[in-house]
């Protein structure tokens, strides 16, 4: 047979087959949309929830096999245990993402700058017993600390310059303790209170015989946290 009668149809066939091939469809936009549907903390919470449900379905399916003695020749229990553990992990991850989302949503509403600054007690020279106490202020701070267990308060006490610095340091400590005890009596927890006995006051107040030496309470609240005890 003449070779051209063989090669020509073959070439035509190859050409027609090439014409029939279609290019692979671009799926990048679809992938991007799919990724977008599960983006962010809320999307990830949904994703983990779905994965947890899938794992749980596997575990329950195998539980059914074991209870009905099906698939006896296949050791499915380990697979079920792994699936159940994975379901738990996904549940925790979902919970965490959900809490992060809550923080994201509710965080801006938190009152970061709600610190209270109060001068609560006044002492005369060399005395740790206040001649004037703002019981209302102490009560307000104590109740606030009681209501916010994660908040803290700093009690700062100082003295005038009468007497030796070491004595004044001890005096300021006693003054701070006086205020601390009153705060605890009003609801504050001891571990919420930070005592700063600074001894003789600094700056323009570093003078003798001033009867307005005070103890000041400044509260502080940690950063906003949702679900702080998550696993």
């Amino acid at each position: 047979m003449n070779k051209k009668y063989f090669y020509l149809p073959l070439a035509a066939l190859a050409l027609s087959l090439t014409a029939c091939t279609n290019s692979k469809m671009d799926t990048s936009d679809l992938k991007a949309e799919i990724d977008a549907s599960r983006a962010g903390h809320y999307g990830q919470a949904m994703l983990h929830e779905e994965m947890s449900e899938e794992d749980l379905e596997v575990a329950n399916n195998i539980l059914g096999h074991l209870e009905q003695d099906h698939y006896w020749n296949i050791n499915e229990k380990q697979k079920a245990l792994d699936a159940a553990k994975s379901a738990t992990q996904h549940r925790y991850a979902s919970e965490k993402e959900m809490c992060l989302w809550l923080t994201e949503v509710h965080g801006p509403n938190h009152h970061y700058a709600e610190a209270i600054r109060e001068t609560v007690a006044y002492f005369k020279t060399a005395s740790a017993v206040p001649f004037k106490v703002k019981d209302e202020s102490i009560g307000r701070v104590g109740r606030w600390l009681e209501a916010h267990p994660d908040a803290t308060a700093t009690v700062t006490a100082s003295t005038d310059t009468v007497g030796k610095p070491a004595y004044n340091q001890d005096l300021s400590q006693r003054r701070a303790n006086t205020v601390t005890q009153r705060l605890i009596a009003k609801g504050a927890r001891p571990n919420q209170l930070v005592v700063k006995a600074i001894g003789e006051a600094a700056g323009p107040n570093n003078t003798p015989d001033q009867s307005h030496r005070v103890a000041i309470v400044i509260t502080a609240h940690p950063d906003y946290q949702d679900c702080a005890n998550l696993k």
Partner: protein, 135 residues
Amino acid sequence: MNKNKILAACVLSGALLTVPTAQAESYMKGFSNKVSQGLANIAFGFAELPKNVINISDDQNIFVGMTWGVIRGTAQGVTRTLIGGAELLTSPIPTSDYASPAYVWDRFSEDSRYFGLHYPGYWTTYGPLDDGDDD
């Protein structure tokens, strides 16, 4: 027909008629299941052969499948066919299933057992036709 046979027929019919409806329905269901399983196992018992070959080949390799799988499948096929006959013969008597899975196509990755007993040399993984989700 003599009088004794007529009497016996009357007594049996009466007994059946006095059985509560629910029990009668349950009995009929068990009866029809057993007939159905008996016929299916007689007709398709031979399917144990490809079932064993496919599952053992997947679990081990094609050589084991085509040797041990054929031997085992033949034995299983004969057993299932005989079991099918036994199910059909005893269909009026309510019992639990003789074969598990009841039909050869059920739970394809599960090795068949008869009266709770199995043949040695079974496979231990899911086969290619069933991943345990289809029941």
